[in-house]
């Protein structure tokens, strides 16, 4: 635990929150980041997201609480996170990015922190706002989302040592890569299913013949 979840690593995560340019640079070059902390932060974000959907007050929340399944959402968010990391890694490998997979994972994971620290207070605040004060609640959420996007952008930029323009291009390509990965996995899944069905029908045929 000590190595990955050490006090220094945690402190550095918070340092990155306020100094993303600097922070991400040393994460790449001085091993200051921690992948387990990044994944832990993604999990935390997933739970704060589900919590917001489920527990935000009736005034601001139109989600049917019966439709919220936090474990399901956790799976979805982790999957997206993984896909995005791999997609970005695949693209940046071809585009002279300096970042390793673990740097990308840390960059994106740490970028979740603003979301966690705005979603939870926003959920609590929502218990005290009426409809005409909803703006405060949305403002907090928007601040969190903007902050997180900026962090993710700077993170990818610094980790790969890119310019801003190139970063934006790679992010766009990453989305395409993610779609391709999903498409290929669906294709493989379908094909495996067909092969399975083929052998299964041979099996049933044999069973019925004998």
């Amino acid at each position: 635990m000590g190595k990955y979840f050490s006090k220094e690593k945690w402190k550095y995560a918070f340092y990155t929150l306020s100094h993303p340019m600097d922070g991400y640079y040393w994460i790449r070059h001085r091993e200051r980041g921690s992948v387990p902390i990044a994944i832990f932060l993604v999990i935390c974000f997933s739970f704060s997201f589900s919590m917001n959907r489920m527990l935000a007050s009736f005034v601001v929340n139109d989600v049917d609480p019966r439709s919220v399944d936090s474990l399901n959402e956790l799976g979805g968010i982790l999957l997206l996170y993984g896909l995005f990391c791999v997609g970005n890694w695949a693209i940046t490998c071809l585009m002279e990015g300096e970042g390793r997979l673990k740097d990308i994972a840390v960059a994106l994971g740490y970028a979740m922190m603003p979301l966690i620290i705005t979603y939870i207070p926003a959920t609590i605040l929502s218990q005290a706002v009426a409809a005409d004060e909803e703006t405060f609640y949305t403002l907090i959420l928007v601040v969190g989302i903007v902050w997180a996007s900026v962090m993710a952008l700077i993170g990818i930029m610094q980790v790969h040592n890119y310019t801003l323009g190139k970063t934006l291009v790679t992010i766009f390509l990453t989305f395409i890569a993610v779609f391709i990965i999903i498409f290929i996995f669906l294709l493989i899944g379908d094909m495996i299913g067909q092969v399975y069905n083929f052998f299964y029908s041979i099996y049933t045929e044999l069973i019925f013949r004998t």
Partner: protein, 506 residues
């Protein structure tokens, strides 16, 4: 031991059957209805509710005796089965006029529907006996004139109550009508000024309006055609030849009309999208209906699917009942949808089938006192439905709200809730009443159950502000105490560490 086991089993079986017998005989009634009563909740899920209306009776022509139709012994004879009846209406006196389309006659029933009092087969047209040919719509005006849409004779016949001819409206002429216009009136209704509103076959421009002199004045309440972007796109890329073979974009025809106490016209139509199947037309012909929070007055909401039974409701008639409540009759699934003046669904009931209380081909709907009457053209019967406690409580509470007595409605809504816990309108009604009373905490509870965000927020704001106002002294005291504790703690810690802080409170 083994013996006892058998005894135990027998006793258990006996007890089970006894309890089952008791419960089944007690509550079986709701399950014997041939249809379900339901409503849609805030999230458009179906909520099954207690029955709002139950089938009471069905009136068939073959069982009705007619006073004026006597046999050789002077005894009343039966009217004879209705053949394909298409419309009926209730006269101000309470008598029911049935348009027996297939038999070319109008049958008048007494208000209890126990017997026929009159059969109008023919009338005296300037000395010549004239008959009907497929009379379709029928309507009795407030000043006791019978308006009959004599569809195949291409005219509207106006008689007085004794069957004497008042006037005939035919051959409408106007610049807006094309040459050789074929006037086949279908449904007809009359407002307080004697204006005739009539739907006609193959007329898509709207409802035809005739002055009480019989002069055609124009179309009314034209339905706008909506073309989706996708259709526009396809038409754009189609060649002229292809376009000529495509379907024309024509508005739907009106299927039924009714007039309310203020002279507003309720007109139903078949909407392909299932969103708006009824219009409330003001005297200028503009639609002023309120569509409620769901923005939908088109019948069923669950219309997706590929089967014959899916698809939007086909509303074939509308009846304005009382206090802003109106009901729509769906011929696709045989359901009756009842809305209030704000466009909220109150209850849905009815179904197709062959059992008593179900429809084969519902054609027209009317209301008499607290009853709902439906004319079934294939059965040739009038089916009557009577309100249950649940249905009449809702009607009553909605009527009170329509009159602006929402606080009075609270008690009635509470009784509705006792019958149906999930009734959102009841929860909202109670919540609003409590809000007016100043009981904000309870109002919040009910308004949340009723999923009314707007009023919940009002109640919540007042509740929160009251809470803050009442406890302001505690909150401020607590804050000061916290600050003092914090300062003292800090000083203590500093002293322990041997630090000295320069000036300042903190």
């Amino acid at each position: 031991m083994k013996k006892y086991r058998y005894v135990k089993k027998i006793i258990a079986a006996l007890l089970t059957s006894a309890t089952l017998a008791v419960f089944l005989s007690d509550t079986a009634f709701a399950y014997t209805l041939p249809y379900e009563t339901y409503n849609y909740d805030y999230r458009n899920n179906i909520n099954f509710t207690p029955a709002a209306y139950v089938p009471e009776n069905s009136i068939a022509g073959s069982k009705l005796l007619c006073d004026s139709l006597l046999d050789e012994n002077g005894n009343p004879t039966v009217v004879g089965a209705f053949v394909n009846p298409q419309d009926f209406c209730i006269a101000p006196s309470g008598e029911i006029y049935v348009s027996d389309t297939g038999n070319n006659r109008i049958v008048v029933l007494n208000s209890d529907m126990t017997k026929a009092v009159q059969i109008i087969n023919s009338f005296d047209n300037n000395g010549v006996s004239d008959t009907f040919n497929a009379p379709y719509g029928v309507c009795v005006s407030d000043n006791n004139k019978i308006y009959i849409a004599d569809s195949q004779n291409k005219r509207i016949v106006v008689l007085d109550l004794d069957g004497k001819l008042v006037k005939i409206v035919d051959n409408p002429t106007s610049e807006i009508l094309e040459e050789g216009f074929d006037f086949t009136p279908l449904k007809v209704t009359v407002d307080y000024a004697g204006r005739i509103y009539c739907t006609a076959k193959n007329v898509y421009e709207g409802i035809m309006v005739f002055e009480n002199t019989g002069e055609f004045t124009g179309y009314f309440g034209t339905i706008k055609v909506s073309i989706s972007l996708w259709q526009k796109f396809w038409r754009r890329i189609a060649t002229k030849e292809e376009r000529s073979k495509q379907e024309l974009f024509i508005p739907t025809e009106f299927t039924g009309i009714d007039v309310d106490d203020d002279g507003f016209i309720y007109a139903s139509n078949i909407d392909e999208n299932g969103i708006q199947a009824v219009r409330r037309l003001n005297p200028k012909g503009q639609d002023v209906i309120k569509k409620g929070s769901k923005k939908n007055v088109g019948g069923d909401l669950w219309i997706d699917g590929m089967s014959d039974y899916s698809g939007p409701s086909e509303i074939t008639d509308v009846v304005y009942r009382d206090k802003g409540i109106y009901s729509l009759l769906d011929r696709k699934r045989g359901r009756i949808f009842t809305y209030d003046h704000e466009g909220n669904l109150l209850y849905i009931f009815g179904g197709l089938g062959t059992q008593a209380g179900t429809f084969k081909a519902p054609a027209a709907i009317e209301t008499l006192n607290d009853k709902i009457l439906v004319l079934d053209s294939l059965r040739g019967e009038i089916l009557t439905f009577t309100a249950t406690e649940y249905g009449s409580l809702i009607n009553e509470a909605v009527a009170l709200r329509y009159d602006g007595d929402e606080t009075k409605a609270e008690k009635i809504w509470l009784r509705v809730l006792a019958l149906d816990e999930n009734n959102e309108l009841a929860n909202i009604g109670i919540g609003k009443a409590l809000l007016t009373k100043g009981d904000y905490a309870d109002a919040m509870k009910y308004l949340k159950l009723g999923m009314n965000r707007e009023y919940y927020s009002i109640a919540f704001k007042r509740y929160r502000n009251n809470l803050l106002k009442d406890n302001m002294s505690y909150i401020l005291t607590g804050l000061i105490v916290l600050i003092i504790i914090f300062t003292v703690f800090r000083k203590y810690r500093d002293r322990k560490k041997g630090k000295v802080r320069e000036g300042g409170l903190l």
